[in-house]
C-alpha cells in the first residue's frame, strides 16, 4: 500500500501543490464552512472548540460573546469544516495505456492521469474535503464514494493501482450512471485522453452539470500525440481496435496535427460553453507544474468570479 502511495503521490508534487487550495467555484451543497459556500442558509453545524484568532481569519467567525467576557478574540471551530464532495473519474481505457517514446522516461497516460488525480485528491483531503473515485473504461470498474476520512487516500490510490487499461472507452454511459449515483452536488473531475465520441462525452458531462456539479476535465495527452514526431515507414496499430495503418508519418504529420488541434479546440470550446473547466496536459509536462498551473488558473478564475459578484 505504501508503495502505491509513493507511486502516485510524488512528495515533490505534493509539497508544491499544498501551498494552494482547490476551491469550488460553484455553490455546492453543504455547510458554509471552510472555503466552500453553502446554499442552505440557517443549517448549523456542531460546535467543536474555540481557538485564538490569528490575523487572516475571517472576523465573522469571531465569538463576540467570548470577547466580551474575556476581552480576547476567539474563533469558533466546528466539527466539520467542509461540505465539498469531489469525485474523480479516471479513464482506464486501452488508449490510456500509450506511453511515449521521447527522451526521458515518460509515464503512460494512465499513470500520469492517476498521479494527477491522486495529487488533487490528497490536496482536497488536506482541505478536509471528501473525495471519491470512479475508474472506468467501457464500464465503471471501481467506484469509491466520496469520504473525507484520512484513510480515503489509501483506498483511492489502491483503486488506481489495481486497475489496468485494457478495454474501450465509453464515458457517456459512465457519466450518466454516476450522475444518478452522486446525490449531493459537488465537484466532478474527469481525467482522460477523451479519445471517444465527443458528443456522448459532452452529454455525459452536461448530465453532471444538470445536477449542479462543478465539472473539471483534465485532458491528458502524450507528447507524441501532440507533436507526432515519427519518421520512416510505420505501421500504426490502433489501440481500442481502431484498425491499423501503414504510412510515411512525415507525409501525414501536418494533417494529423491539424486534426488533433481542431479536436482539442472543439473540446475546449464546448467545455467552456457548458461552464466546464478544461485543462489540456501533456505527459511531457512536469506533473507539479501542470497541477500548479491548473490550480492557479482556477484561483484566478475564482477571483474573477468573486469580483463580479
Amino acid at each position: 500500500m505504501s508503495n502505491e502511495l509513493t507511486d502516485y503521490l510524488d512528495p515533490k508534487v505534493l509539497a508544491k501543490i499544498t501551498r494552494l487550495d482547490l476551491q469550488a467555484r460553484l455553490v455546492v451543497e453543504g455547510f458554509v464552512s471552510g472555503m466552500h459556500r453553502s446554499p442552505f442558509n440557517g443549517f448549523s453545524v456542531e460546535f467543536a472548540s474555540h481557538r485564538e484568532y490569528v490575523p487572516g481569519d475571517d472576523i465573522k467567525h469571531i465569538d463576540w460573546k467570548v470577547q466580551a467576557k474575556t476581552d480576547r478574540y476567539y474563533i469558533k471551530q466546528y466539527e466539520e469544516e467542509t461540505n465539498l464532495k469531489a469525485t474523480f473519474l479516471v479513464d482506464a481505457s486501452e488508449s490510456m495505456h500509450y506511453q511515449g517514446t521521447g527522451p526521458g522516461q515518460r509515464l503512460s497516460k494512465y499513470r500520469y492521469a492517476a498521479a494527477a488525480a491522486a495529487s488533487l485528491a490528497f490536496l482536497l483531503l488536506q482541505q478536509q474535503d471528501a473525495v471519491g473515485l470512479g475508474v472506468f473504461d467501457e464500464q465503471l470498474k471501481t467506484y469509491i464514494p466520496a469520504s473525507g476520512h484520512p484513510n480515503q487516500i489509501k483506498s483511492f490510490v489502491h483503486a488506481l493501482a489495481t486497475n489496468k487499461p485494457q478495454a474501450k472507452t465509453s464515458i457517456e454511459l459512465i457519466c450518466h450512471s454516476l450522475a444518478e449515483k452522486i446525490s449531493r452536488r459537488g465537484m466532478v473531475c474527469l481525467v482522460s485522453d477523451l479519445l471517444t465520441d465527443m458528443d456522448g462525452l459532452m452529454r455525459g458531462l452536461e448530465h453532471f452539470r444538470h445536477y449542479g456539479h462543478e465539472v473539471m476535465v483534465l485532458h491528458i495527452m502524450d507528447e507524441d500525440e501532440l507533436t507526432f514526431p515519427f519518421q520512416g515507414n510505420t505501421m500504426f496499430q490502433g489501440l481500442e481496435d481502431t484498425g491499423r495503418l501503414l504510412i510515411e508519418p512525415r507525409a501525414l504529420r501536418e494533417g494529423y496535427l491539424e486534426s488533433m488541434e481542431r479536436f482539442c479546440r472543439d473540446v475546449q470550446r464546448r467545455c467552456v460553453s457548458s461552464r466546464i473547466d478544461y485543462k489540456r496536459i501533456s505527459t511531457a509536462d512536469h506533473l507539479d507544474a501542470a497541477i500548479l498551473a491548473f490550480l492557479a488558473a482556477r484561483s484566478a478564475a475564482n477571483r474573477k468570479a468573486g469580483s463580479k459578484r
Binding site: 515507414n233 510505420t234 505501421m235 500504426f236 496499430q237 489501440l239 504510412i247 501525414l252 494533417g255 486534426s259
Partner: protein, 772 residues
C-alpha cells in the same frame, strides 16, 4: 541519339527503375507502433490521400528523371543539335574534300550491302546535294588506299557541271574495295594540300569504319599533326563512322609451307593459322584446302580433306597442319578457306609454291677424271644424294667440270657444291679490269636464296679465294685461308672434329652424334685448309658475319682451326668445309664409318638447299618480282590479277637490272593491291606456255573489326574539335544532316543538380524530408 559510352546509358536507363523498386521494397519494411490517436491519423489520411499519392508520384518521377539525367551525363550523350552538317548547308560556296576509306575492312557486310557501299552512297547523296545547291562549290575525293595517287578524284572539281558530276558519280558507283590497309594520315595530308590555297569555307568529310587497329597504328602522331594542320587553317572536319562490332569474323592469318620444299608425290606439310577476331568461343571450325595447277592452259585442281579446329577461343589464333601429297609438279596455288562471315575477304588464304619433281643439285667437281673414280671429288656426294643417278631419290644431281661452270644457270638449282674448284672464270671488262661474272652470278644466286657449299683441296687458287671470293669479308669465302697442311700422303697423322666445338644448330644434330648417329669424332682428317678465324669480316646489309660451327682438334687439346664455317648471305646460306669432299684428305667419305658420313652430310646439304617457303607468297602491296632465266629470255609475259576480268590481262615488260658485275633480266609488277593468286604466263615464240603463281594475302590485322568509336578518334586526332556522326545502321544519307556531335554532359549535370534541389525542396514541402 548517340553516346560515347552507350553501355553506360543503357545501364543508367535500367537504373531509372531503382526509385520504384526502393519504393516497393520500402512498403515491405516498416516499424510497428501501438497508437491511441488513430482517429486523427485516419482523418488526416482521408483528407490527404489524393495529395499524398500525387506528391509521391511527383517525387518518384523526379528521382527517376534524376537517374536518367545522370545516365545521360555519364554516358556522354552526344545527341543531336539542329546544326546542319551536310555539305552545302552554308550559304556561301564551299570547298570540300571527301576522304573515303576503301580499305579491306570496309568490306564488312551490314545486311546486304557492305559498309563501303553505304559510305559510297552517302558520298553520292552529298555530292548530288552540292550539285543541286551549287554556289561555285568545289570537291575532291581521296581514297585512303592510295591517298597520294595522281588521280582525277584527287583534283578539285566544280560541282556545277552536270556532265562532270554525272561522270564522277558514275565512277563512285563503280568503285571497288582495295585489299590494302587504311592510310588515313596520308589522306589527311592530301586533303590539306588540296585545300591549302582555297579561300572558300573548307570542309573535310571522312567516311571510314575507324577501326581501333587503324587508329592506333601507323606513324606515331601523324593523325594528330595532320588534323592540327587542318584545324589551324580553319578547315572543318566531319567524321562519319561506319564501324560496328561484328558477331563473327574469322581470318586466315597465315598459310605456309612447313617443309623446305614441296615435292610432287611426297607428303608435304601445309600450316594454316586461323584467327578468331571476336570474343565468342568457337567450336569445330572447318578449314578446307585446295590446290590448283595450270596444265595445257587449263586449270586442274586437287581438294584435300578438311581439317577442323575443335575449339577456337575468342581473340586468339590456332594452327592446323595439313599433310597432303601434291600430285603434280609445277607452279601451284593453294587456297585455304574458313566458313564465310561478316567480312568475306579474309576467309581465304593463298599460298603459291613451285611443286618440284626433285631437288636440283649442281656439283662442280675440281677432280672429275681421276683414274680411280672413287677419288673423284663428287663421287661420294653424288652417290649419297642420287644413288641410282636417275633422280629416283628426290634429288637430281648435275655434275660439271670447273671449266663448264661459266655456262651454268644457277637459278635452276637449289644447291650448288664447289668441290676443290681452283677458281671461277674471269673476263676483262671494257675498261680493262678483271671481272668475275660467274662469281657475281653465284653471289646473286645465294643472295636470292640459293644454297652453296664449298669443299677445299689442294687445287684452291689462294689469291682468288682470299681476293674476289673473300672480297674483304663480304664474299662467299668467309675466312682468309692458307696453303693446305697435313699428312695427306702418308696418312699417319690426323685430326678429328672437336666434338666440343660443334655448334648446337639443328642441322648439325647428327654431326654431334645425337639421334643414334655415329659421331663424326671418329672421322680422321689427314689434311685440311687452315683458315684464320680472327679474320676481320666486314659484312653489311643482308650479309651476316661468318660463324665457325665446327673445329678440328689440336695435338695439345687447345682451340683448333675452323673445320666448318657458315654465313647467312642474303636469303641464302654459304658454307665452307675446310677439307676435301673425297677421301683424299680424310676418311669421312669412306665406306666404313658410313653412318658418320651420310646422315650428317645429307642434313647439311638439306639445310643449305634453297627454301621456297616464302618465295612466291607475300602480303598485298608487295611488288611481284621475277627473274627471267635464259631459257625464257624471249618469252612474252602477261599477268592475270585475281579480280580482273579475262580481258584485263596486264602485259609485263622485263627490264635489265645491272649491278657492278651482273646483269639480270627481271619483270616487276608494283601494284598487287588485290588479295589472291596472280598468274604470270610466259609465252615462248613457239607458242609453248609456262605459268607461275604469286600469292598476295591481305594483312590479317584487317580482320580485326573492333571499332574505335569517337573516343579513339579523339585520341588519335588529339582533339575533340571535329564533328562526329555515327552511321551504325544503314539509312538515308539525309540522316547525317541534322546530327551534330556535341557532348551535353555539363548540361545534364546542371539539370541533375537542379532536379535534386527541386526534389529536396518538394520533399521538405511535402513532409517527406525533415528540414533540419
Amino acid at each position: 541519339m548517340s553516346f560515347v559510352s552507350p553501355m553506360i546509358f543503357w545501364i543508367g536507363l535500367g537504373a531509372v527503375s531503382i526509385p520504384i523498386i526502393i519504393h516497393l521494397l520500402n512498403r515491405r519494411r516498416f516499424r510497428v507502433r501501438q497508437w491511441a490517436a488513430m482517429q486523427f491519423l485516419l482523418d488526416s489520411l482521408r483528407r490527404n490521400r489524393r495529395r499524398l499519392r500525387i506528391e509521391e508520384l511527383i517525387l518518384m518521377a523526379l528521382r527517376c528523371l534524376a537517374l536518367f539525367l545522370l545516365a545521360l551525363a555519364i554516358s556522354r550523350f552526344t545527341g543531336c543539335g539542329d546544326h546542319d552538317l551536310m555539305p552545302g548547308s552554308d550559304q556561301a560556296a564551299e570547298t570540300t574534300v571527301f576522304i573515303l576509306d576503301d580499305s579491306f575492312s570496309m568490306g564488312q557486310k551490314l545486311g546486304a550491302p557492305t559498309i563501303f557501299e553505304n559510305a559510297v552512297n552517302d558520298i553520292v547523296t552529298h555530292v548530288e546535294r552540292l550539285h543541286e545547291n551549287a554556289k561555285a562549290d568545289q570537291i575532291a575525293i581521296v581514297l585512303t588506299s592510295k591517298p597520294g595517287a595522281d588521280d582525277v578524284f584527287q583534283s578539285l572539281m566544280s560541282v556545277g557541271g552536270k556532265e562532270e558530276i554525272d561522270r564522277l558519280i558514275g565512277r563512285l558507283k563503280t568503285l571497288t574495295l582495295s585489299d590494302s590497309p587504311s592510310r588515313l594520315g596520308e589522306a589527311l595530308i592530301t586533303a590539306d594540300e588540296l585545300l591549302a590555297n582555297e579561300e572558300n569555307p573548307r570542309n573535310v568529310f571522312v567516311y571510314s569504319d575507324f577501326r581501333a587497329v587503324d587508329l592506333s597504328r601507323g606513324k606515331a602522331g601523324i593523325h594528330q599533326v595532320q588534323f592540327k594542320a587542318l584545324r589551324d587553317q580553319g578547315i572543318s572536319v566531319v567524321t562519319l563512322d561506319y564501324g560496328r562490332p561484328v558477331a563473327s569474323n574469322l581470318t586466315i592469318e597465315k598459310i605456309e609451307l612447313l617443309d623446305k620444299w614441296a615435292l610432287a608425290g611426297v607428303q608435304t606439310h601445309i600450316g594454316v593459322t586461323v584467327r578468331n577476331n571476336t570474343t565468342v568461343r568457337l567450336k569445330d571450325v572447318p578449314i578446307s584446302l585446295e590446290a590448283k595447277w595450270r596444265v595445257d592452259d587449263k586449270e586442274v585442281s586437287a581438294v584435300f580433306p578438311a581439317e577442323t579446329i575443335s575449339v577456337l577461343a575468342g581473340e586468339s589464333s590456332a594452327r592446323v597442319e595439313f599433310k597432303v601429297v601434291l600430285p603434280r609438279q609445277g607452279a601451284a596455288a593453294l587456297t585455304a578457306r574458313v566458313p564465310s562471315d561478316h567480312l568475306a575477304g579474309d576467309d581465304n588464304g593463298y599460298l603459291a609454291i613451285d611443286v618440284r619433281k626433285v631437288l636440283r643439285v649442281l656439283i662442280v667437281d675440281g677432280h672429275p677424271d681421276m683414274t680411280d673414280v672413287t677419288l673423284n671429288e663428287s663421287y661420294r656426294l653424288a652417290l649419297l644424294m642420287d644413288p641410282n643417278l636417275n633422280a629416283d631419290h628426290g634429288t637430281e644431281v648435275t655434275i660439271v667440270e670447273t671449266q663448264a661452270i661459266g655456262a651454268q644457270n644457277f637459278s635452276k638449282y637449289d644447291l650448288v657444291l664447289l668441290l676443290d674448284v681452283a677458281k671461277l672464270p674471269s673476263e676483262l671488262s671494257d675498261d680493262g679490269k678483271v671481272i668475275y661474272p660467274t662469281l657475281s652470278a653465284l653471289e646473286q644466286y645465294v643472295r636470292d636464296g640459293g644454297g652453296l657449299c664449298i669443299f677445299t683441296g689442294e687445287s684452291l687458287d689462294l689469291p682468288f679465294y682470299n681476293g674476289p671470293m673473300y672480297a674483304e669479308g663480304k664474299g662467299l669465302s668467309p675466312l682468309v685461308i692458307s696453303p693446305p697442311r697435313g699428312d695427306m700422303a702418308a696418312k699417319q697423322k690426323y685430326r678429328r672434329i672437336d666434338a666440343r666445338s660443334i655448334s648446337d644448330d639443328p642441322f648439325l644434330k647428327t654431326l654431334r652424334g645425337e639421334g643414334g648417329a655415329v659421331r663424326c669424332a671418329m672421322v680422321r682428317f689427314y689434311a685440311f685448309t687452315p683458315s684464320n678465324p680472327l679474320t676481320k669480316s666486314a659484312p653489311g646489309g643482308d650479309i651476316k658475319p661468318p660463324r665457325v660451327v665446327a673445329k678440328f682438334t689440336t695435338p695439345d687439346g687447345g682451340d683448333g682451326p675452323p673445320a666448318m664455317v657458315v654465313r647467312q648471305f642474303g636469303k641464302g646460306t654459304a658454307m665452307m668445309i675446310y677439307s676435301t669432299a673425297s677421301t683424299r684428305w680424310n676418311d669421312w667419305a669412306d665406306d666404313e664409318p658410313e653412318t658418320a658420313y651420310s646422315a650428317p652430310t645429307l642434313d647439311i646439304m638439306m639445310h643449305l638447299a634453297r627454301s621456297q617457303a616464302e618465295e612466291y607468297t607475300r602480303r598485298v602491296g608487295d611488288t611481284i618480282t621475277h627473274t627471267i632465266t635464259r631459257d625464257f629470255r624471249d618469252a612474252t609475259l602477261t599477268l592475270r590479277t585475281p579480280n580482273l576480268a579475262a580481258d584485263g590481262v596486264i602485259t609485263l615488260k622485263p627490264v635489265d637490272e645491272t649491278t657492278d658485275t651482273l646483269t639480270r633480266r627481271v619483270v616487276k609488277y608494283d601494284n598487287p593491291a588485290r588479295g589472291g593468286v596472280y598468274r604470270m604466263t610466259l609465252k615462248m615464240p613457239d607458242g609453248s606456255l609456262s605459268d607461275l603463281f604469286f600469292a598476295r594475302n591481305v594483312d590479317p590485322a584487317e580482320g580485326d573489326l573492333t571499332p574505335g568509336g569517337r573516343a579513339m578518334i579523339v585520341k588519335a586526332l588529339g582533339s575533340e574539335d571535329f564533328k562526329y556522326v555515327s552511321r551504325l545502321t544503314a539509312g538515308s544519307a539525309a540522316d547525317v544532316q541534322t546530327k551534330e556531335q556535341k557532348e551535353y554532359w555539363v548540361i545534364f549535370l546542371a539539370g541533375l543538380l537542379g532536379l535534386l534541389a527541386i526534389e529536396t525542396l518538394l520533399a521538405q514541402r511535402f513532409g517527406h524530408h525533415t528540414k533540419d
